[in-house]
Symmetry: C2
Subunit: 236 residues, 2 copies
């Protein structure tokens, strides 16, 4: 069998929200690369997929620095991309796992930039965190002619405010550390009552806040916290 | 066991891109409701999930009219919502399947409006068509501070043009019957070279067009055709 690289989306958190395809591939891998949040730390993506791994699969955790030093970041991305290509050249079945969907706000995309589109690469899509949040909160993302914007709370404030004006429905990702600012933008746009916030959706620590005007600006939040806004939705 | 209703996302098309959770639930259902495109016609969502159904599961295809007559539409939604609630009251395990993700541009949301948020309802999220398109085309949806807009080509032209200006990345859904108009909007925005179109992603009939300026305005398109725009992406 010739070598192959699979970029595997592990979904929002619950182990049974990965796809059947990803589960089957995980069972056949020679080696799995898993990004870890901290050096030597655990990988959340790895904890999601561990039950599907084959008995012989080697696991390699790799740490991607969050630092603003882009030379350091780029060196790590270059190294991991080269390591993945070398494993494939040696004829191995190689996996790289990401949280949520591999193509949306994921470290994988920086590796894809370096690896390009070789024949030996397959990307397996996954359930995004916001699809899971919508399902858990029973609040739709969009219907009919409505539009949905998915934005990072690290984006410029004016861009977030414009998106809040123009779309029927919004997903505000990466709220961690920026809640007070985002809450103020929602208040200015008159959207506090159309918003909900969810952390760690589908995991045991899942939390949901529905009345954001009552949530303190300094509410401690888990790292994976997202706000969903739907201007049009009223429950039956 | 008391009755329960599962809104099950069947994913973009390939049977193994449903979630492990949806596959397990499908095997335990007493009855599965499947939307059919035409009266008496086949259900694409049903064809995706059929292999996971239990031997005893009853299948009921229901047709939702596409007509502009909203009284007719509403009567059908009311009838199906009432039927689902009755099955649950009778203690049955009931499924309703949708293409892609249940909470995004799906018929399920009209039923959710009528059913509300009872304890006996669970919504199982799924892989969206655009996550599958991004994976197949090896073109990312968004990274870092970028923003993604997901819009329907049935939306007002000015809204589509504004979204094309303001976001780094866009998914234009429901292109069928509107390709010439959308191509003109992309040309006006200078984005024809940043766009690709994909039909029936992950299904045997999958097609991908990468040079939209060379695609004829009257190119025949399958019903499930979507355009993905990423202004920032350049392949390695």
């Amino acid at each position: 069998m010739s070598g192959k690289l699979y970029a595997l989306s592990s979904g929002p958190g619950a182990a049974d929200l990965i796809t059947v395809r990803a589960a089957r591939i995980l069972g056949q891998l020679d080696v799995l690369y898993a990004p870890a949040g901290r050096k030597g730390g655990d990988s959340l993506a790895l904890s999601i997929v561990r039950e599907y791994l084959g008995a012989h699969t080697e696991v390699r955790c790799c740490h991607f620095p969050m630092s603003a030093d882009s030379a350091e970041k780029e060196a790590v991305w270059n190294d991991v991309a080269a390591a993945l290509a070398q494993e494939v050249a040696a004829g191995r079945q190689v996996g790289f796992i990401t949280l949520g969907d591999a193509m949306l706000f994921s470290t994988w995309v920086f590796l894809l930039q370096r690896i390009g589109c070789p024949e030996w690469l397959e990307i397996v899509p996954g359930v995004t965190s916001f699809a899971a949040i919508a399902a858990r909160a029973k609040t739709p993302l969009a219907m009919e002619q409505q539009s949905l914007a998915v934005i990072s709370c690290t984006a410029p404030e004016a861009d977030i405010a414009a998106a809040l004006r123009q779309h029927d429905s919004l997903v505000l990702m990466k709220v961690y550390g920026r809640f007070a600012r985002i809450k103020a933008l929602l208040a200015q746009a008159g959207l506090l009552d159309a918003a909900l916030m969810m952390s760690e959706a589908t995991l045991p620590g899942e939390q949901c806040w529905r009345r954001l005007r009552e949530v303190s600006d300094d509410q401690p939040l888990p790292y994976f916290s997202t706000i969903l806004v739907n201007k049009q939705w009223e429950e039956a």
